[in-house]
Structures are given as C-alpha cells and as structure tokens.
Amino acid sequence: MNDLSDKESAGELIQYIVIRLGEEQFGIDIRFVDNIVRMQQITRVPKVQHYLKGVINIRGEIVPVMSLRLIMDMNADEYTGKTRIIIVKMTGGDLIGFIVDQVDHVLTLDSNNIERVHRDDSKKHGEFLSGVGKYEGGLVSILDLNTLELESLESRDKERDKQLLSIAD
C-alpha cells in the first residue's frame, strides 16, 4: 500500500483508481467505477461535442464514451494496447465511459492527505478536479467524474468560443 498510514489522526480512507493521461496521474474514487474495459470499437454518434467519441455496448446497455483528454484540453487520444475505458456510474444512475491512456493501480488515500482545490485553480480542467492527493509515489489529481455535468462543459466551451470570436474580430 502506498498510503501514508503513519499519519496520526486518520481520516476517512478512500480507494482511488489511478489512471494516466500522458505523464499526469489522476485518481478516480473506486466507489463510482462500475467497470473497466479494454478499448473497443466505438460507434460514432454524429453531430455531438468533440469529446464525445461515441457509444459502446456494456451488458446490453448503450453507454456514451468520452475522451478525458479532450475534456481536459489535452492532445487527442492515441489508442494503444494499454488504453482503457473506465465506466463511471454518474450520480443520476447513468453510465458513462471515459477513455484513459492506462490504468495504473489502486491507491488508498486518507482524506487528510487530500488537499482540496479552490474553484479558481480548477478552471483548467473544468469543474471536476476536486483535490490533489499526496502519497509516496508523488501527487495525484482527484477527479470527481461522477458529478461531471455536460452543461458546465458546454457553457465552458461556449465561453471559449466567444473569446475566440472576439479575438478574431
């Protein structure tokens, strides 16, 4: 285990699945992860947001798949043998798949070792970067994917379009 268990006042212990996007590590609360599947044929849905890559079939259910890289304004995915789709159970009960470069390991973190991020700092990655966890292997950004709201992403995109337009003018 990589957690700092010698910490005196033990807070709540939460398990995170650590994933990689490029060099960065992110943690996703294991309670919200329904399943992790290998990269597979994704059925494209036309005319949707660029980060929505399409839909896949998970146990007979149609599940939308999003590119976490594109949501976070990183370079587009390059699918390799390590690429995985993390199926997250959203607060509303729907399932959403997120494409990640690779899944590293499971990490148990004491809630005391997580530094909450102020909203101002989280702008870069949208509204779902909730904190940074410290552990022996380094730092891991905690993602609250289950509360991700498409509306907030869309309004973010719209704002950006507006800025681009104003620059163009």
């Binding site: 036309p46 005319k47 949707v48 839909v55 896949i56 007979g60 149609i62 599940v63 729907d94």
Partner: protein
Amino acid sequence: MDVGQYLGVFLDESKEHLQGLNDNIMALEQDPANEDCINEIFRAAHSLKGMAGTMGYKRMQELTHHMEDVFSDVRAGQIKVNGDMIDTLFKCLDALQAYVDLISETQDEGTEENLDIIKALSDIRSGKSGGDGRDKSAEAKKEEAPAEEKKEAEASGEAPWKSIKLNDSVRSALVEAKEQGKNIYGVTVNIQESCILKAARAFLVFKGIEDVGEISVSDPSTQDIEDEKFDLSFNMIVTTDESKEKISEIINHVSEIESVDVGDFDLDSEAADADKASEGAQGAAASEETAAVAKADVKSEEAEPKAAAAGGNAAAQGGKKPAGKPAIARTVRVDIDKLDVLMNLVSELIIAKNSLISAATSEKAESGNVNEQIEYLESVTTNLHESVMKVRMVPLESTLQKFPRMIRDLNRSLGKKMELTMTGEDTEMDRTVVDEIGDPLMHLLRNSADHGLETPEERIAAGKPEVGQIFLRAYQDGNNVVIEVGDDGRGIDVESVKKRAIERGVITPEQGEAMSEKAIIGLLFNAGFSTAKVVSEISGRGVGLDVVKSKVESLNGEVDVRTKLGEGSTWIIRLPMTLAIIQALMVKVGGETYAIPLDSIQIIEDVAPDEIKLVQNREVINLRGSVTPLIRLSKSLEIESNQPEDANMVVVIVKKGEQQAGLVIDEMLGQLEIVIKPLGKYTSKCKFISGATILGDGEIALILDTNALV
C-alpha cells in the same frame, strides 16, 4: 377432475371469445345479414359453453347455452337480427364478462342466475318483441334490489357501519376521543354504480374527512379500499369535532357518490356487547356447564362475520373471498417464432458453456481461446436477454379492443352521435404497460364522448357534421410510444377553466391573469378539479384526469393536451419504450451501419448521377413526376462516403407527412427486427438519431430519425 390448473387458460380463452363475440356482434349490428359473422359468433358461443361446462361453471354454461340457441336460430334463418336483440345480446355478454371477472377473482362463478337475460333470450327465440318492456323490467329489478337491502337494514335499525368490529386498541382510542369531547360517527358511503375509479373516489372521501377529523377504522381496510377491493360501499368510524351534517357535506362534495349515511356511534352499547362476550368466556373457565353456552356464543359470534362476508360476496359480484387471494398467473401469449429464437439461443448457450469447459480443461489452456469463448458467451446472453424482452412485448390491440363497444354503448346512453377511429393497434409495448394503460385511455375516451363532443343539435348549429369523431392513434416516435386520444368537439374553454379555478380557490385572480393558456389548461390535471357544469355519470372530469396523469407518470410517461376552442382537443400520452421493437432497414453509410425505421420508408430507388437536377441550389430527382429533394446521408452524418462519384446511388425514399425526400446511402444490408435502446441524455444533441440498437454481433447501430432529417 382437478380443473384448477386449467383456470388460467380458461380465463384467457374466455376473454378472447368474449372479445370476439363483442366485435362480431358489433359487426352484425352494421350488417345484419353477414353470414360469416353469424357463423363466427356461433362458434365462439359454442366453445365458450363447452369450456364453462368443462370447468363446472353451470350458471355460465346455462346462459351461454341460451345465447347459443339464439344464434343457432339466426343461422338457420328462423329469426332476424334486430336492434333489441343486439341490445339483449350485449347485456348477455356483459353478464358473461361478470362471471369471468368473478371467476378470475374468486375462482367461483357466484350465484347470479341472470334469469332475466335468459328469459329475454328465450323471448327472442319464441319471437316475442317488446324489447323495451323487458329492458324496463330488468332495470326495475336492479333498482329494487338495493332498495330492498336498504329497507331491510333500516327496518332492523342496523346501519351497515354497525357491523364494523372493533379491536381493543381501536376501542380504547375511541374511548379516549370520547373523553376529549369529540364526536364519534359511523359512516357508510355508497358509490354510484357507474363509477370507474372507485378507489380514487374513496381516497378523496378519506382525504376530505382527514382534514376535519380522524378515521379510526374502516371496513374493508384502508389498504383494500385503495386496491379497489370493495364493492360499491364502504364503512368507517370517524372521530371529529365537526357535526354530522358537515361530515356528510364533505363526502357528498366528492363526485359520483350515491349516498352517505352518517350516524352516532354508540360506544357503550358496542362495549356492552363485547363485555358480555368476554364475561361469557370467563364464565367458561369457571364452570363446564356455562362453558358449553359460552362456546356456542363465541361460535355464533365467529360465524356471524363470516356469514356476513359470504352474503356480501354473493350480492357483490366484484367481492373477494376473504380467505386468501386465489393466485391466477398472468400470462402472455407468445408467437412461436419468438420461442424458437429463445430455444436456439439456449442451445447456443449450452454450446458456449461446453466450449468454455473444454477450453479451460484442455492441457494447453490458452487464455486467448478462453477469452474468445467468453466473448461468444457474452453475445449469446445479450441476445437471450433481448429475446426474453421481446417475449414480454404485446400489441396494444388487446387493450384497445374493448373501446369500440364502449363508444357504441355511450352513443346510446348519451344520445350523441359519434364514431371512433383507432390506428396503430399493432404498436408493441411491454405487457405491464399495456395492462396499465387501459384505464387512463378509457377515461380519456369517456371524457371526449361526454364533455368533448357537443350534442347533434349543437354540432349542426356550429356547422359541423352531425356525427362527432373520436380518435385514438398510437404510434412510435423515437424512443417513445405516443397515444393520442381526441375529438372534434367543442375544445376546452380556457376562460371557464380559469374562472372555475378562481372560484375553487385553486388560484387567485391575480395569478389567473399572469398564467399562460397552457398553464391554465394544466390546472385540469389538479386533484379534484371539475369543469363539467353537470357532473354526469359518464365522467366527472377532474378526479379522472388527475388519476390519468398519476397513472401515466407512474409508467414514466407524460400527458399533454392540445386544444382549440370550437375545434376539439387532443390528449397526448407519451410513454417511454425502452423495450420497443421495430422493423428497420439496415444500411451502410461510409462504413458505418445505421437503421432506418421501415414504416417511414416508401420505396428504394436506384438513381444514376445524371438524373440529379439542381433546384434552388438543392439536389432533387424527378420521381415519377414528383420532385423529390435528395439528402446525402454522408454529408448529414459528417462522414466520407466510400462510393465513387459516378456510380449509381441507392436512394431510400422516406416520407414525413405529405413531404418526401430521398436519403442517399452507400449500401443496403437488409431488413432486421431491432430493439430500440435509448441513447441517454448525454448524446441527445444529435437530432438525427432517435436511438440505438445492438446487433447480433454485439456492435451498436444508430437509428436514424427520418423526421428530423427531412
């Protein structure tokens, strides 16, 4: 012979035969000389008689026998079909239906002999006319019966609520209430015979009383009343600060209540009875001699409620046997093809299991091999799941069948002229939804007949055809099944709704001014709101709509209404059909597979590139004289077509209302029955896609919404 196991089949088939009889007799009414109809009726009546006899339902058999005799004479040409005869036959069918309903609830046919109908049937055979007189006598009899009951009850000074048995906790609660100076009343509520949603009325009565007091006990129990397990009346004991008159006024305020009987509940005399009984019991312990007497006492007391219940049962056709619910399995009739598919899948499942075992036990167990087998297993189980879902799907038809007869009856009872047209009866939905949706639809149809349509005179004055039109349309719309019920009647008067809402204190006049038309019409769905000037026996608009709404919402659907004053209104029920199955044409566009619903396709054409003309910068083709715009799906779907420019194009001609358009595809794959799955809110941005389906190999194909494309 133990016939219990055949009960389900008997009920199913009886219902089918009765429906067939209903349909055919209606057809016969239109065309009295139709021999096919008569033969069909004769056969159905004969089977029904045989089945009832086999199951040992003598009264039902007897009635069917007389009905069969009539048809036998009609078939032989000895008597002619006429209006009175049809009426009598319908009455007979209703009585048979009552038998079947009673059997399905209690496994017993009850004691109703229906002698008047049997007599009417033999009168027809012996050639007597005088249908009117017969009707009257039958009705009179019906009216007499409850009156007699009432008289009896009054004569013996026994109001029905007096039969309520109190247990100790209730009694002590009543004693306490009495000490607090509250009034204790016994209340008996009789609901009109024509009431459809008895439970809803009872609920309103309860709600009204609970505003001013408390219901200590009710007979039948509150649960049974909510489940509509009661006949036309129920009793309760109420503690309140209000007067008798007030209570009775509150209850009478609820529509479709026939009568209310409120009386003082005498706790002392009830207690005295109880004391006597317990004294008796104590005495029993003391001496053997008295024990015998007491035992007899106790026995008779036990027997009493039983007898009362049994009596109630006999009188009440809808009554339930107090001892346990007879379990009758709900069945779905399944197309043999669907079962074959299931059977095949199960054999595939066994093969998959065997390959998995051999892959796992073989010496050189390669993980790749096992994975392959697991994937195969996955695809089989997915298909199995889908097939089972398909088995649950039934056409709406089974629910809609009874409506033509209902409208025919309303035609007579309301003195209006109307016609019902139904379309889309073959729309498939899950069995549970199909079962549940019947009542709301019936209510909406009755609403249309009673309130929507004007009288013939009014219609003529308004320049409309004398015969009013009522329609019911069912169809699939993307992920939903839509059922529209409407009429070409007077429409909803928004101003009068607003006025009524203000009068009733539902909204303030200020609110009324600020509300949009739509919001005001929405008030109709509020509980206890009625705009009908006269609350008739057909429907008392208000409670009904409230119930319709809650029922539809419980099925995850929604109700909406479109209305135009003077032109009619349409109620639109929209239900999600996560399970719906459609026939679709599978096509390829730029390497991707899409499904186009077959019912929107008119024809498929092969078009040469030089046939395309440009009109107002749009590509069109001349399709047998009509100019049809072309839509290149590859462009709409933002994908590269992999067909060469100069090759002939496959064009799927689709229609949207009166319009038509040609969708250019790359390749046709063929027709497939597909299960529509919702795409979910995250991918709802694409308007062209109405859903998705999972193909046999586990891949997903998107379903095109041609209405959005055209």
